[in-house]
Structures are given as C-alpha cells and as structure tokens.
C-alpha cells in the first residue's frame, strides 16, 4: 500500500534497465519500497540492475518482457499482479531511434513507433485494469517534451511519444474515480545512456532529478509532471509559436 505521502511498498518497472526508472527505484527503496519487479528483455544488464537494487535491501524479481511482443503482455503482466498488489507501475521502456536512419528505413521507424506507442498501449491497458481491480495504485508513464511539438530533428520519436502522452492522459481520465491514478511525466533532455554523445539541449536534466520529480508528483497526486518544472512554461510558449518561426529555431 502507498502511505500518506504516496510512497509505494511495491514497484513494477516496465523497461527495467531504464536509467530514469532505476534512479526512481533507488529513491523509492530508500523510503518504503521493499518489493521490486524489473520487467525487460532478459539481458545481463537487467540482472545487473536487479543486483544493484538488491544491494539496497529490496526483494527484486526480474521478468522477461518485450514491448514489441504485445501478444505476451497479458500473460507476463498477469503473472506479476497475481503475486500481490503493485502500488506503483513505472512505464519506462522506449527507444530513441536514429532519426536520419529511420527516415531511410521505414521498418526501423516502425519499430520505434511500435515500442514506444503500441507496446505502451498494450501494457498500459493491462496494468490499468489490474490497478482498477485492486482499487489503488499509480501508473507513471514516462513521456517526453519531444511529444509536445514535432521537431524536424526527432519527429519519429516525438510522434510516438505524442501518441503515448495522449493515450496516457486519456487513460488517466478513464481511471479517474476508480482508485487508480495515472501520472504523465514529461522530462526534457535527460543526460543518460540514451542520449550519450548527443548535443545537450537547454534545460537538460538528470535521471535523479526526474526521480525526485516523480516522488513529489506521487505525494501531490499530480497528473502531469514536467522536469524541470520550467519546461511547462517554455513548452507552452513554443507550442504557440508560428510554424515558419519554429522551423528556424536552432534546435
């Protein structure tokens, strides 16, 4: 059960090697979380992540989960929820892709879209139903500012996150009043493995800062969280900028 401050005792991470997710898990374990399920592709990296969290004192299980294999989601996630209540589901899987290459190879672009969007729709609906049945719990969805307005430089990734973001918002409304809660987290540029070697955007942040924002959002039962918070104002302005001007922005 979550406590008065929204801190979970059990955590399910979809995308178990995500740096943001692991930073969040570390933070939660330091407070109340005792049981962690790391769902992801069965790789040594997933086992390493589990080992790191075990060292912090949590009971950690790994589960083989592939966002692209939507047929298996029902079964894989169903098994996790059958083991006991999950107070917090963190949907953290996603791929950035390579914009230039994806434009040349539509199949690669489709893979980005399927991982980030279709996979999330499937897993999101299954988790939502389970949370609704247990009458409590939060689903935290890692979206991105890239989904807020299409940019030349990453619109394939951006469009998948736009779809995910809209889906998660709607799901939050659908679950309103059922005891389950959906929180959409929109980080800006996060310094991590995923963005290694890329030119840093303004207002760049870290996985730890996103984790802090998630903890605060859970306490406030927020529905949308921007990281850093100033991005909310910045993106609100950018959203209304005329296209010809927006195209010329150096970003």
């Amino acid at each position: 059960m979550k406590d008065a401050f929204g801190l979970p005792q059990s955590l399910l991470v979809l995308g178990g090697t995500s740096e943001i997710a692991l930073a969040t898990a570390r933070r939660m374990i330091a407070r109340r979380t005792r049981t962690v399920w790391l769902a992801g592709r069965p790789t040594p990296a997933l086992e390493d992540a589990a080992e790191q969290l075990r060292a912090l004192g949590a009971q950690v299980h790994t589960v083989a989960f592939d966002a692209l294999d939507t047929e298996s989601h029902e079964w894989v996630l169903g098994k996790v929820f059958a083991e006991g209540d999950i107070d917090l589901v963190l949907m953290a899987f996603g791929v950035l892709g390579d914009q230039a290459q994806d434009e040349r190879e539509p199949l690669a672009a489709v893979r980005v879209a399927q991982t980030n969007y279709t996979g999330a729709v499937s897993a999101g609906l299954i988790c939502a139903r389970a949370l609704q049945a247990q009458g409590h719990g939060s689903l935290v969805v890692l979206s991105s500012v890239a989904g807020e307005r299409a940019r030349r430089a990453n619109f394939i990734y951006g469009s998948s996150k736009a779809g995910l973001d809209t889906f998660a918002q709607g799901l939050g409304d659908a679950l309103h009043g059922t005891g389950a809660h959906v929180m959409v987290v929109r980080p800006g540029f996060v310094r991590s493995r995923m963005t290694a070697g890329m030119a840093e955007a303004p207002l760049a942040t870290t996985p730890e800062a996103v984790a802090t924002a998630i903890e605060l959002g859970l306490r406030r039962r927020s529905e949308t969280v921007w990281v850093p918070g100033t991005l909310r104002v910045v993106m609100s302005a950018l959203r209304h900028m005329p296209r010809p001007l927006f195209r010329r922005l150096p970003m």
Partner: protein
C-alpha cells in the same frame, strides 16, 4: 469492475483508495456482507474518524456500520448500556445525559462509533484515571470470519485481540458498556499556563491525580526558552451544588445542546496553514489563556470536543490532507520526549492541534495504544516538504525509547518498526491466521503494516 465503488479516505484525507461500501441495516445483512465480501476481504467502518487507512480496503468491501445504531437497553440504576456498534458517542450522550450518566471515555470528538471506540481502544483526557475505552466494555458480540456470532467477555484472548485490533478480528455488532454517573452536563475546569516543556511536565506530574480529566495544549512552534510552552486544562464533571440557583443551567442541569458552526467549503484553499499563520494562532491561543483560573464552568462540547463545533474541519488542510502523529514514551523516557519536542520545534512544523498528556496504566488489548507515560499528538499538513523522512526519524527515536505510535492515527509507519512498538503483534497475527485464514478481514492498514 462494478461501478459502485467509491473513493474512501480516513479523516486525514490522504491515500484514497476505492472500495464497495456496504451499509447493512440488520445483523443478517451484516452477516451476508461478510460472507460476500470476496477475495479482497472487508473491513468495518464507523464514522471515519481514524486519521489514516484503518477503515479503508482497496478493491474490497468497506462495511459501513452506522445504520446499526439502536440503543437496546439502559440500566439506569446500575449504569450500563447495551447498544449496537454503529451507535455514536454523540448519540449515547444525548440519550444518557438526561438520565444522569456519561460515556466512560470520550476522545476529542464524540462523532465516533462504539465499534470504532473498541476497535481503536480509544482514550480520552481521563486516561490517567479511567484507562482506555475497553476497560469499560463488559462484553460485546463479534461476527467472526466463519460467520458465527460470538459473545466475547473480558479476559479472553479474543477480547484482548479485538480491543485495539482495528476491526481485523471481526465485526462488532453490539456492546455492553459501564457508564459514569454525573450530576450535571457541565464541566468544572481549571486552566493554567506553563512557560516551557519542563514546567508543563512538572505540573502534570505533580497534580494530575487531583483531576479526572487532564490535558495540555502545547505550542510546538515556540522556540528557545519557550519551547514546549503549554496551556493546561483540567477538570471534572461539575457537581450540582456548584451551579448557582436561578440560572438556566440550574433549572436544567443535564441539558446537552452542542452548537455547530458552518463547515468550511469542500474546496478549501491549500496553503493557508503556514508557519506564520499557525505561529500567530499559537501565540494568540497561548496569550488568550489565563495564567491561572479555577472552577470555570464549561459545556461538555467546549471542554471535550471543541472541533466538533466545526463539521468537516479536516478540510482546512486542503486537498493534500494532513497527517496526525501520536506517540507515547514511557515514564523515565522524558529525555526522548524532550528531544522530539525540540526537533519538532526546530523543524517549525505548522501544527496548531498539538496535545500532551500523561497516560495511566495500560489495558490488556494486544494492539491497544496507551502505555503509562507521555503521549504527544500533533497534526501536520501532508504537503510539508520532507515530512515523511522527518517522521521516520521521530519513529526511530520513539522506538528506541520503547514507545509506540497510535495505529488509529497512522498512515505512514515503516512496517519494520511495528513489532518493536507492539510486542504482542505476533500473537495478534497468530490469532488472525487461525481464526481468519483466508483474510476475510483486511484493510489498507493491515496490508501496509502486514497485520
């Protein structure tokens, strides 16, 4: 999922979860509710005054007992009453005061049910004299997980598990209580100010035995030499001969007419309770109190239940809700109490409902909260940054001093500390495992703490 689930919280309005709320009107309906509560179980709920998640059950059933509200029999000579568990102390006062009887123990609100009073084994300002509520319960009828109705008397394991058992042993259907005789419905109250924590502890230690009721409001925002300054209000039921002839009170000495103010709006703005505003309030409240005044006549509601005058007063904390923190440390642990008060005062928690009391002897309930010593209760807005970690630190201090926190107010205790605070929790779990192996009685509290 049936659409008839509703969001349920405790009085502190934190951590809402959804449940089917069932309101039985007869014992048969109550039995049917227990039989049909499904895999996620059920938990009885009274008037929802527990601050945390004790009367919530996410995804399961919450059995609202307030429709079972009949007073069956009153023995006006011997001073006992047999009533349903859903009867409120407010209702009992209305019925009993005209007959010259009063409830044996009342907490800071009279809007609690008899079932809830047993389940939380509540205490009042008279704990140092009269003990907790269960001391005055002669017997009760309990609907257990197997569907049986058992008559449970004092001195049995089931009685001791249920007194303070947070509703997890079954549904209390009726209870027989021993009452307190009174001559009037007024209180004779002595008020005095104490300049700091040592002063208030000295005064409570030296003269508490002279009063049936005793409590100190404590200013936790005062710092420096004034840390822990307090206003003591102590008293007893006024005997008839203290009333002046010819007054209204004299003509109708047992009248009970509590006044009620309008409630705050449902969407009360958040953030009005700041260090500054609460600090000003506390300063005013301290200075308003007379340095020393004896024998003032107060109504029962003014003395025991001032907050009941404002329905839904919990709304003043806004949508973020609030956390009540109440702990007790034994006699001889005054240093621990002093350290905790200093930490709270240094931290500047905006708390205006902080109360210090000296407890008397403990009662046998396995999870009953009061033990002899010092108890401090305070309320804090849940949105205060870093509050969770701060209260965890206080828990460690309390546990190290052999103390405990009150489960009826808890919404955030670290489960690992429970066994240290309540040594008999193992017995409680064993009794539950035997009497209720499928976990028919389950609450968010029991899930969170593994009760």
């Amino acid at each position: 999922m049936p659409a008839d689930t509703v969001s349920v919280t405790g009085w502190g309005r934190t951590a809402p979860t959804n449940a089917r709320v069932i309101r039985p009107r007869t014992y048969e309906e109550a039995a049917a509710a227990v039989r049909g509560c499904g895999t996620r179980g059920g938990i009885p709920r009274g008037l929802g005054r527990a601050y945390g998640d004790a009367a919530q059950n996410a995804g399961g059933a919450v059995i609202d007992m307030t429709a079972l509200d009949r007073v069956h029999a009153i023995d006006a000579d011997g001073g006992t009453v047999l009533c349903d568990a859903g009867v409120s102390l407010h209702c009992l006062m209305q019925v009993l005061l005209p007959l010259g009887w009063f409830v044996p123990v009342t907490p800071g609100t009279r809007h609690v049910t008899v079932g809830g009073a047993i389940g939380a084994d509540i205490h009042g300002k008279n704990h140092h004299v009269s003990g907790a509520f269960s001391r005055h319960v002669l017997s009760f009828e309990l609907l257990t997980a197997d569907g049986e109705i058992r008559t449970v008397s004092r001195g049995t394991p089931l009685f001791d598990a249920t007194a303070g058992g947070m509703g997890l042993t079954g549904l209390i259907l009726t209870a027989t209580l021993q009452l307190l005789p009174v001559e009037t419905s007024l209180m004779s109250v002595d008020t005095e100010r104490a300049a700091d924590l040592d002063d208030v502890m000295d005064r409570l230690t030296a003269t508490d035995h002279r009063y049936r009721y005793s409590v100190a409001w404590i200013d936790l925002l005062a710092r420096g030499a004034a840390t822990g300054r307090a206003v003591l209000t102590r008293g007893d039921h006024a005997p008839l001969d203290t009333l002046r002839a010819g007054t209204r009170a004299y003509r109708d000495p047992l009248a009970f007419r509590p006044a009620r103010l309008p409630s705050p709006p449902a969407l009360f703005p958040e953030g009005l309770l700041t260090r500054r505003s609460v600090g000003l309030f506390n300063e005013f409240w301290y200075r308003k109190a007379p340095r020393a005044r004896a024998g003032e006549l107060q109504s029962i509601s003014a003395f025991f239940h001032p907050l009941d005058g404002v329905p839904h007063w919990n709304r003043v904390y806004g949508r973020g809700g609030f956390v009540q923190y109440q702990f007790v440390v034994g006699h001889g642990q005054e240093e621990a109490l002093r350290r905790i008060v200093e930490r709270i005062s240094q931290r500047r928690c905006p708390s205006f409902l902080a109360v210090l009391k000296r407890f008397g002897d403990a009662d046998p309930g396995w999870l009953s909260f009061p033990v002899p010593g010092w108890t401090l209760a305070l309320d804090i807005p849940a949105r205060l940054p870093g509050l969770g970690a701060f209260l965890d630190e206080l828990d460690e201090e309390v546990a190290a001093a052999g103390g405990r926190v009150y489960l009826a107010k808890d919404s955030r205790l670290r489960p690992e500390l429970l066994a240290a605070m309540y040594p008999r929790v193992a017995d409680f779990r064993a009794l539950r495992a035997e009497a209720d192996p499928r976990g028919v009685f389950t609450s968010d509290l029991s899930r969170r703490l593994g009760l």
